[in-house]
Structures are given as structure tokens and as C-alpha cells.
């Protein structure tokens, strides 16, 4: 029990989180104190935890037991332990939590005196704790308990601002969806237990691998349904764009940055870790789901003008990208191609980390915008780059990273995914080249659309003229919030420039879950300080590229100075074609910006426009006109609404045909049952 001892540090961080939760309740009278103290606890906890898991991974990993509790109720046994896979995801969680908690210190200040900050922070800490527990769950029941706790705590965080009824609705949709998913997961876990009698999932002694194929497939379907709902893959995504805007931004950062990744963890843990991949169609399914999610996610994101809903749809897209990586990996494994599998799964894991970083950052940025302009609608923003320069820079970094543009980390993971696809194709042994190349195309398309979408987000909200008073009055956010975002931005750049830092860690994971050797395949001695990756003849070194670009830019500056001398420049208004001076109403709106794409894909968006004219004789003397354009979510309209309506009608019918209120009817039920049962007794 010393600080050199990983488990000890780890336990310490858990205890710190608990302390944070308790402190939040204890100090709930004093909002400021409660907030600062519990967030400090979270910061400390995540720092310690990060240290311990990094050390664990670099020491070569293995399984470490943290905590065990065996209740004397049968089957109820809590076992917390972690191996490399868990510690990698925990690392993501800790990094994210570290930044977000720093951010929260400043961000939550706008709750002071308005809301129960103590309760909020209590939920915040327990949410982090529950996510940790999901990663640490050593056996089936612990996993399920942690999973449900995570859902419940996040539900309460989503509905925390419960004056707005849409938040409550969003929360309801969220928890119902996630609980239905959980039911499938539970069924799968039950089947696993019933068939093997084994309940350890971390360090299970390989019993799950002997489950008959049919049941493995059944479990796989259940897992895809259950975890897919949590991950928000289409068509189970509808809760996601509702829940994320409802939650306050630091929570959405955690939810989108990490919570939906627990699904990735679950899939890896149960299918790869417990069963091992044997069926080809598993990989195909995941791949196809990934393609759909990637393309449709970004496509829907383009149509959104509420920053947080836009980001939520981008989470769907990125989950899709991760799924593409996983799918390729699973396919490769089922074909016994460990080289490709290693790269693909590494790419998926890497993208998980990256998405946590930049999406977390983006949500924090959205939070800052909301904090200083208290609006989420980018049509109300504009010109913020002058009011909040640092936030703008960070947001720019995140936008570049999520659009997979060099030299940020998003590009590296997508590059790895492309490489795995390419390597798999060049093996070319299997008949599904088309799906695979389509996944490459989907990646490219999604990347390009994402770039457009973030040009829209950044351009409309930060550039140009402010479109509303609140945007005019915006001020830079407090330093804690800035530093929270700054850390993430710096990490985005760092992991882009030196990806091998992360890949070293990931190698431990891939070698553990599927016995895949990674570093040998990607390492490259010729390119300096673990900056570059080279697979076969394909090389990539963001650091070098950045250097080149910088050199060229400097060269350009010098060249221009030499040829053109010291340039004179004059400030003047934007060209207004000689009419009245440009004002904010004349600017291109986000709606207009995305219109071409809306028109091109009208089949998908079902755009509608409504012009309502008010006035006593509207057609001749209109007082007021309302013009509304929008798009329809086909999934909600044609799947969910239908199902829900059907269910409710069915329920009402049953209710009023069974519970008619007529006592004679009730008595006749009894008589009929008697007769039926007497028949049963006579016949059987």
C-alpha cells in the first residue's frame, strides 16, 4: 500500500470521487464551495487514476483486482478489476474528466443561487463513478448494475433543468431507449451465464468461448441491439440528439465524449473478449451499421442549427467511424488476418480516444458560447472571434480535428482506418470488397461533409457580424473554462503530431484482447520521435508535414515582402455592391449555407417550407408573414412515431376491453376461467 502501488492509487482515486460526491451534498447550502470542492476532488481523482492506468499499461498490463464484495444474496457479487482494455478506456475517461472538471469550476458558476448546485455535483461525481464502474466491472452482474446506474444518473443529469418540458421529454426518451437496450443486454448476459455458469468477464477463463455458435449469434444480436442503443447508431439514435442539448454542456461533454463509448467497450469486451470472433457476418453487420451511422449522422448534423444537437449528430457520425474500424477488424479476425485486424482495431480505439478529446472539447466550447451569449442557436451568433478570441482558437482546433484535417489527431485515426481498409483490400481474398471500398468512400464523404459542417459552425457563429444583441454583448469566459478547453486542444494537436505515444498504449490492448501485435507493423525508425507511422510503404508524419507547411508559410511571407516590399493596407467596409452598408441581416445564414446539400439530398431530408400570412384579409393586406423551412427525421416519423402510436392504441384498447368497469364482465371472466381450467384439468 504505497504510492508506487497501482491498485492503491486507483482505489485512492475512487475514494476521492466518492468524497467529491459526499462533499457536494455536505456543502449543498453553499453553492460555490460545493462546486469548487467537489470538482477539485474530481480533478485529483482523475489525475491519480490517469497516472495509475498509464503506469499499468506501460508495465505490460495484466489483471488487477481493485475491490470485491460478495453479498450473501445468491448471485449478487460486486467485483471491480481492470485489465488493459478497461485501463485504456479508463485513461480516456480520466483525461476527459480532468479537463471537464477544471472547466466545470467556472461553468457551473452560472447555477449559483439559481439551482441546487450540490445535487448537481453529487450527480456529476456519481455519474463519473458509475462510468468508472462500467469499465471496472469484473463480472456480469457488476457490469449490469454499473450500466444501469450510469443510465439513471445520466438521466437525472439530463432532466436537471426540468422547468423546460422538452428536457423532461428528452430525458424520458433517453432512459426508455437505454433501458430497452439494457433489457437486451441483460438477456444476453443471462444466456451467457446459463450456458456456462461463468460470471467473470475480465479474466474469464475462456469458458464463454465454448458457447455454441447459435447462442453466440443470438447474444451478438442482443449486444448489438443493446449497446447500439447506447452508442446511438442509426436507427437507435433518436435519444441522442434530444438528450445532449438538454443536459448542461459539461455533462454532454462527458456523455458524448465517454458514455456512448462504453458501448464500444461493451462490444469489444463481450464479443471479442468473451466470445472471440468467429462469424464473418458479425464484422459485416458492424461495418454496414458503421457506414450508415457515419454518413447519415453527418448528413443530419448539417441540417442542425442548434450547436449541441449538431454536435450530437456528429457523435453519431464518429461512432460510425469507430464502427467501421471495428467492422474491418472483426472481418479480418474472422478471416484470420491478424495484421489488418491489429491496425483496424487500433484505429477504432485511437478514434475513440480522439473523439473523446475533440468532441468533449467542442461541447465545452458550445457551453462557453452558451455561457456568454446564453443561446444555442447559431443563427443568433456571429463575430464571436473578436469577443472571445481564445475560445475561438480552441474551437478552430477542435473543428479541424473532427473534420480529420491535418495535422490534428482526427486525421491520424482516420488514416489508420483507411490503411486497414487498404491493406485488407490488397489481401483481396474475400468477396465483399464492395462493402469495404464503400466504407472507405463513406469515410471520405463523411469527412468532407464534416468539414463543411464545421466551416458552417465556426464560420457562422464566430466570424462575420453578430446576429443578435446577446452575441454583441458576449465576453470571454473565465480562465478555468478556457484552461479546460485548452488542455483538450493541446492534446488534440499533440496526439496528431506524435500518434505513436498513444499507439504504444493501444498495442498493449490489442495484444491482450485478440493477441494482435501492433507496434512491429506500424513502427518506423526513419521518422523521428515517434511522430510518424508507416504501414508497408505508406508513411505518414504529421510533425514533418507541419514543419514543411510552416517553412513554406514563412517562405511565402518573406517572398512577398521581398517582391512586394512593405505592403500598405487600408481598412474599409465589406463591399456592398454600392448599396446600403452591409449589416448582419444580409449575411449568409446557416440555413442558407447548408441549402445546396439540403436540396441535393432532399430525398433523405424531406425538407418542407411553410409560409403563413396573418392579417384580416391575409391575401391582400398581410400584417405579418412567417416563413418556416425545416427537415423531417424519417426515422422518427416513419418508425418510432408509428410504433409508439400503435402501442398506445393497443394499450388503450386492452385497458378498456379488460377493465370495462362492469362487474358482470369481471364475474364472467372468472366463470370463463373456471370452465377453461376445468377443461384443462379434465384433459391433462
Amino acid at each position: 500500500m504505497s504510492l508506487s502501488d497501482n491498485e492503491f492509487i486507483f482505489t485512492l482515486s475512487i475514494l476521492l470521487l466518492l468524497a467529491g460526491a459526499i462533499a457536494a451534498i455536505v456543502f449543498s447550502r453553499k453553492h460555490k464551495a460545493a462546486n469548487i470542492i467537489s470538482n477539485c476532488f474530481c480533478i485529483g481523482a482523475s489525475a491519480l487514476g490517469a497516472v495509475s492506468v498509464i503506469r499499468h499499461l506501460l508495465d505490460g498490463g495484466g489483471i488487477k483486482q481493485v475491490f470485491t464484495f460478495t453479498s450473501n444474496i445468491p448471485l449478487i457479487e460486486i467485483s471491480l478489476r481492470y485489465d488493459n482494455l478497461s485501463s485504456y478506456f479508463l485513461l480516456i475517461l480520466f483525461v476527459l474528466t480532468f479537463a471537464v472538471s477544471i472547466y466545470s469550476i467556472g461553468y457551473i458558476s452560472h447555477y449559483y443561487g439559481k439551482r441546487a448546485v450540490g445535487v448537481f455535483n453529487f450527480l456529476y461525481c456519481s455519474f463519473i463513478l458509475s462510468m468508472m464502474m462500467v469499465m471496472l466491472a469484473g463480472n456480469l452482474i457488476t457490469f449490469f448494475i454499473a450500466w444501469e446506474l450510469m443510465s439513471v444518473t445520466s438521466y437525472f443529469l439530463v432532466v436537471f433543468e426540468h422547468e423546460k418540458s422538452e428536457n423532461v421529454k428528452a430525458g424520458t426518451v433517453y432512459i426508455i431507449m437505454t433501458h430497452l437496450g439494457a433489457a437486451f443486454i441483460m438477456a444476453a448476459l443471462m444466456i451467457m451465464y446459463a450456458l456456462t455458469g461463468e460470471s467473470m468477464i475480465i479474466g474469464s477463463n475462456g469458458l464463454f468461448a465454448d458457447i455454441p455458435e447459435a447462442f453466440k449469434n443470438l447474444c451478438f444480436i442482443f449486444f448489438i441491439l443493446g449497446f447500439g442503443t447506447k452508442a446511438g447508431i442509426i436507427p437507435f439514435h433518436i435519444w441522442l440528439p434530444k438528450a445532449h442539448p438538454a443536459a448542461s454542456s459539461n455533462i454532454s461533454a462527458l456523455m458524448s465524449g465517454f458514455m456512448i463509448k462504453t458501448a464500444i467497450y461493451g462490444i469489444l469486451r463481450f464479443t471479442l473478449g468473451c466470445f472471440g470472433v468467429s462469424e464473418v457476418w458479425w464484422g459485416t453487420t458492424i461495418l454496414v451499421l458503421g457506414i450508415i451511422a457515419a454518413v447519415l449522422g453527418v448528413a443530419y448534423a448539417l441540417m442542425e442549427h442548434n450547436i449541441k444537437r449538431l454536435l450530437a449528430y456528429h457523435s453519431i457520425e464518429n461512432i460510425g467511424i469507430i464502427f467501421i474500424g471495428l467492422g474491418i477488424g472483426f472481418l479480418a479476425l474472422s478471416k484470420g488476418n491478424s495484421f489488418v485486424a491489429g491496425i483496424a482495431i487500433a484505429a477504432a480505439l485511437f478514434h475513440t480516444m480522439n473523439h473523446a478529446l475533440f468532441k468533449g472539447g467542442l461541447f465545452l466550447g458550445a457551453g462557453s458560447i452558451q455561457y456568454s451569449t446564453n443561446t444555442k442557436d447559431i443563427e443568433q451568433l456571429g463575430g464571436l472571434i473578436k469577443k472571445m478570441p481564445l475560445t475561438a482558437i480552441f474551437m478552430l482546433c477542435f473543428s479541424l480535428a473532427i473534420s480529420a484535417i491535418v495535422p490534428f489527431n482526427g486525421f491520424v485515426s482516420e488514416w489508420l482506418t483507411y490503411q486497414s481498409i487498404f491493406a485488407f483490400l490488397s489481401e483481396g481474398s474475400l468477396g465483399m470488397d464492395l462493402i469495404i471500398i464503400l466504407s472507405a468512400a463513406a469515410l471520405a464523404f463523411a469527412g468532407a461533409l464534416a468539414a463543411v459542417c464545421f466551416v458552417k459552425l465556426f464560420g457562422i457563429s464566430f466570424l462575420g457580424l453578430p446576429r443578435s444583441e446577446s452575441a454583441k454583448a458576449a465576453k470571454e469566459v473565465p480562465v478555468t473554462m478556457l484552461s479546460g478547453m485548452g488542455i483538450l486542444a493541446a492534446l488534440c494537436l499533440a496526439f496528431g503530431l506524435f500518434p505513436r505515444l498513444v499507439l504504444k498504449v493501444i498495442a498493449a490492448v490489442t495484444s491482450e484482447i485478440a493477441g494482435l501485435s501492433l507496434l512491429e507493423n506500424i513502427s518506423n525508425s526513419t521518422i523521428p520521435i515517434c511522430s510518424g507511422i508507416s504501414i508497408g510503404n505508406n508513411r505518414m508524419s504529421m510533425a514533418a508535414l507541419l514543419v514543411v507547411i510552416v517553412v513554406l508559410v514563412v517562405a511565402a511571407i518573406i517572398g512577398v515582402r521581398l517582391t512586394g516590399g512593405k505592403g500598405r493596407s487600408r481598412g474599409f467596409g465589406t463591399w456592398d455592391c454600392g448599396f446600403v452598408e452591409i449589416n448582419e441581416r444580409m449575411q449568409y445564414t446557416a440555413t442558407g449555407f447548408s441549402k445546396p446539400i439540403r436540396i441535393v439530398f432532399r430525398l433523405l431530408y424531406r425538407p418542407y417550407r411553410k409560409l403563413t400570412v396573418k392579417g384580416e384579409i391575409p391575401e391582400y393586406f398581410p400584417d405579418k408573414m412567417e416563413y418556416k423551412v425545416g427537415t423531417v427525421s424519417i426515422f422518427e416519423k416513419y418508425i418510432y412515431d408509428v410504433i409508439i402510436r400503435w402501442l398506445q392504441r393497443f394499450s388503450r384498447r386492452v385497458k378498456y376491453t379488460v377493465q370495462t368497469g362492469s362487474i358482470h364482465m369481471y364475474l364472467s371472466y372468472i366463470l370463463v376461467t373456471v370452465i377453461a381450467l376445468m377443461l384443462y384439468g379434465r384433459l391433462f
Partner: protein
Amino acid sequence: MTTYMDIISIFILITSFALVASKKITSYIKAFRIQSALLAMALAVMGYFHFVESGRIDTLVLCALIIALKVVYFPKLLNKTYDRVEHKVEKDFFMNIPMLILLCSGIVIFVYFIISGIGSFGNEDVTMQVVNMVSVVLIGVFFMITRKKAIGQIVGFLVVENGIFGAVMFGAEGMPLIVDIGIFIDLITGILIMGLMVFKINDLFDSINTNKLRRLKG
């Protein structure tokens, strides 16, 4: 002896048919009274034999109870209640009489089909009586279903009780006395409570048509 019992049980069954067939409340209260009387008669005979053979008087006690309650008191109570609450005459049943009769006979046939399937009761010759009594029970329930008035349901419940009691009496000899006593206590309190509630229903709904009690649905 057995034949005698059979005959009485058949009569009891017939009275329940009469019950179903009767239109007016007073008339089916009368039918119920006759049925109880038949039950009491059977008990009296049985009790007499018991007394002669083994000097047991519990059967006779039961017989007395039956006469006191089911032949005298309950019909009286019901009639009084009926006089107090019923102002207007309205159609009391959902289906017309022949239909009801047909269904009841169907029930009897069904029960016979079922019970005859059962191998043996301790001794063979009670089967007939058990069949009749079980059909009386089911007919009682059926009667409750078909009558709208609260009183009709009380009577139906009483008929069900009669059937069960008959089943005990014919089929299951030597049921402990305490059980029978308990049954009677429950019966009395039950009927009293129901009678009380009939008044309340009449007050609040100004009718004892239980078909109007349909606010609690869903």
C-alpha cells in the same frame, strides 16, 4: 339413503334453475328460500342418522343454523332491503329467460362431463351429488353475472354458498366443525356487509342497478 340424497340434490339443482328462470326479485328470493329449505331437509336426515349411530349432534346444529339463517333470516333481510330500496321496476337481466335456461343446462352437462372424468371420490356414489352441487355453484356465479340488481348478486352469492355447502355435506363427510362455524360467521358478516352496502349504493347512485357502477374503468 344415497338415492334419497341424490333426489334432494337434484331438487336443489332444479330450484337453482327456478331461480334463474324467475323474473322478479321477490320470486327468486323465494326460490332461494326453497333451496335452502331442501338443503336443511337433507341435513336434518343426515344429522338424524349421525345422532342415532354415533350420538354426534354437530350436523343437527348445522341444520338448525341453516334453517335460522338461510331459510328465515336472509330471505327476510333481503325482502326488507328490497322494499326499502326499490322504487322503480326495470329490466333486471341481460339475456332472456330461455337463453339463460339453455346456458345453465349447458353448464350442468359440462360439469357432468368434467366430474365424471375424475376417477373416484372416496366412495363412488357421491359423484352424482357432487356434480349437482358444483353445477349449482357455477349456476350461482352465472346468475350473478346475468342479474343487474345488487340484490340479485347477493342472492347469487348465497346460492354459490349453498352449492358449496351442499358439496361439503354430500361429498366431504367429517369436515371439522370449526371450519363450518367459521364459514357461517363469514357468511353472516358478508351478507350483512353486502346488505349495508346495498343501502349505501342506493343512497349514492339512487338505484341498486350495479350495472351503473362503471366509473372505475381502465
